[in-house]
Amino acid sequence: MSLRWTSLAACAALMIGLALPAFAADQLYIPLFSYRTGPFAGSGIPIADGMHDYLTMLNERDGGIGGVRLAIEECETGYDTKKGIECYEAVKGKNPVVVNPWSTGITLALIPKAAVDKVPILSMAYGLSASALGNTFPWIFNPPDTYWDGLSVLVKQIAATEGGFDKLKGKTIGFIYLDAPYGKEPIPLLQQLAAKYGFNVKLYPVAGAEMQNQSSQWLNVRRDRPNYMIMWGWGAMQPTAVKEAVKTGYPMAHFYSVWWPGEDDVRGAGPGAKGFRNLNWHGVGANFPALADIRKFVVDKGMSKVPKDKFGEELYDRGVYNSVLITEAIRVAQKLTKTKVVTGADVRRGLENLDLSAARWKEIGLPDFANSLALSCADHNGHGNLFVQEWDGAKWVKVSGDLSPMNDVVEPLLAAAASEYVGKNSGWPKRTEACDHTS
Amino acid sequence: MTEAAGHVAAGETLLAVERISLRFGGVTALNDVSFDIRRGEIRAIIGPNGAGKTSMLNVINGFYHPQRGAIRFHGENLARMNPGFAARSGIARTFQNVALFRGMTTLDNLMAGRALKMKRGLFWQLLRHGPALDEEIAHRRVVEDIIDFLEIEAIRRVPVGRLPYGLQKRVELGRALAMEPELLLLDEPMTGMNLEEKEDMCRFILEVNSQFGTTIALIEHDMGVVMDLSSRVVVLDYGRKIADDVPDAVKQDPAVIAAYLGVAG
């Protein structure tokens, strides 16, 4: 009998399906999976704002890309895989040019679907590291770096401060991470490097439910006295960790993190957090022409949700970076296909031929905003250079030169992971997508 | 009535409680009580409020464990009964304030009473065809007989929670009968009933006793009822046994009268 209800629901759903604003054929539909709700909203909101605002700015300033307006639609996932899948199913019918899942869990769920639905997935510096290999994952892109790249760079940096890899011998590196697939991904590489350079690894998992209750982890840190700490955190876990580190009196200059902590995450810890370091690959701040345009065309017109004082902060700018990747890929796709209204398949090609040179960054009003990034059919990641920045109590300051990932170590890992993935997902499709060498 | 009681009173001892003492903390509920129940008789336990009658029944079917004393059932000695064992060895029970499965229908309550007798395992239960269904039907027959016997056909499918008190008492009796017990313990089966209901209940009790030859031990306040139904009466007062004899003798017993002064009905 219940199915009577379903059929009701069916009608409702269909009704909605029809009622959804059908996007005019002369638009590029860009869905933005955002999470302004839930326990991770703290990280999600600025990113969503950045992505949204840059795209809106293009609409307002240039009337879209190549004269084609961008239809931007946010879909709220709350960082929840279930809602993420619902969002995907909801948008896939409206032929999106690209999907940004903004959650490792959602990305993993979408990877198999992407090839079938011909929708490119852009998981920018998160998701499945192995998806960097375009020949195995033609539809997945995770530029500009994988977590393994990130970790290798951190170890490099630590070695540099110690004065050479040989100095790492006997040292201890603590790894505090969100006890979830995302947080656990770097561990194999960390242990491999530990074996190689003779340092010890201490693991400090933080359960999702315990994000704001880390005193015991930091008591462990205090006992083990690791020479360096590396954090793979997310959402509310990060500010708590920084505060606890300050409480425990851990030397901040030895506390490194992957690229996710933003200003808000360290500010709370007060002056004690001075010296905290994390990775980054793009500029921070609002003094770029493009951001000036965003302020002029979007923020000042009240078309943005970003609070005035948060404008141009790290994660906001990361959102902008993500949007640049999308729009540039679209431009390339337009050039390749000589059509204005490109499809997801075209944008996939666009991404594979993406080439963001310093000159190009300058053209789009973001001079020296980020290193040049070039993707190819084989390499969907770029493994670009990263740098370390330090919190000076008020803002991030770049404290290192450009550091290149240890490709020699990461490459084999990627290859292994990819083949493992294929092996376990029996019947994984071979790449059939042609590879064009234009651009 | 009395002759009905008379002819069964001959049976050998079915159950005997021997020197039972039961204490809750400081309070002594039962103090060195002994009496026996003979096969086929109707045994009444009476006494003023708080005399320990219900406690006595609770001891008999193992819900309370006495500190001292033993229960002899079928000749074998049991230091302590437990409810499950009591049920399996054929002791059924109704309660002072009805203890039915309120959420279930009359039919289901009675069928539940057959739980011990139904043997089919999980597999057949899952299919609910073949043996399981046959078994179900067989027991349904028995239950329907009881339903007819107690004249509760009309409320077969009514959740017992919605039934009036009198009927609930009757259903509870039905559930006890469904267990086809050897010994039936009735705790004030007639409280809160009007005259007609009481008469019905008396009739049922007598018929159960005569037709199925079920031994019955009952607690009742209504002296008239007790005197009519029972073959022998044990009188408790403040947890002690003060009399144990045939109704007429008990009536005359000065100790009983003293205990019941003004209470006798």
Partner: protein
Amino acid sequence: MFYREVGQYRTSYRADMAIFPILQDRIGLLVILAVAFVGLPLVGGSFFLDVVATPFLIYALAAIGLNLLTGYTGLLSLGTGGFMGIGAYACYKLTTWFPGVDIVVWILAGGFAAAAVGALFGLPSLRIKGFYLLVATLAAQFFLQWAFERIPWLYNNNVSGTIEVPTRTLLGLPITGATATPVTRYEVALCIVVVLTWLASNLVHGRIGRSWMAVRDMDIAAELIGIRLLPTKLLSFAISSYLCGVAGAMLVFLWYGSAEPSVFSIDLSFTILFMVIIGGLGSLLGAFLGAALIHVLPIVLRGVPPALGIDIASSTVEHLNLMIVGVLIILFLVAEPFGLARLWQTGKQKLRVWPFPY
């Protein structure tokens, strides 16, 4: 007028004990099954099947599972998420070891692992009652979720730390993995749910179901009529967990296509408990109705503003969504504490006497 049992005499106990004694009900059921098996796949698009229908079936199955425990045996549990997880991981391991065997077999087999674990965590239920038991089952929930994170063996040491569903075929037709069409996955889910629902309903209408309800309504009395409490409660835990486990396996293999441990979080347990309560304790139908309401309502609500052409941020919609669902739950509990199933019954009663209510 049309819905009358008058004149339908049941001449044998067999007929009387049928689960749907009334002709119209049987017809109705057949119609619904026809619609479910044939109609919906034809009408519903991939969005409807993947986002509404298949998940609804999976939730309904889990809700039935929990309902056997909470509704029929009166034992509150918040371990559902964990038990579903056990089912999923067990199924995953099994299909990794024996890729040849048809996946449906493993989905069903996965449930047994859940049953075992469920029975284990059911042990305290003999002594613990009510909300104390509720919180005790949380131990299962949190411990299992922790285990899913901590034991790499469970997810075959995948670097990603998640279950990745391989493509498995039945008679050459892919039923899991990306290449499986929504329709296939829906039909498979439907078959499993229909069969298991049938078995469950057989169970609750027989001796075992009665002893469960007896324990629920008055465990002392149940004991005094010879029902053994511990075996009865454990059986309830085991079977309930079995159904939840199967639902969990379906959730991963027929719906998500991959799962990290957080999928089986406490929230899942809560959702299922909702469905049971809202649907109606102690009613299989209720499980379906509850699943429909709790799962479908938010999706519909999410669709409303665009449908009306209102342009508000999706996050705002989400917030309003939460509030509306919350308010509805309260209103609903105020209006009909016995759940949708009871509403259905009253409706049927009205229909029975229609058009002459007096």
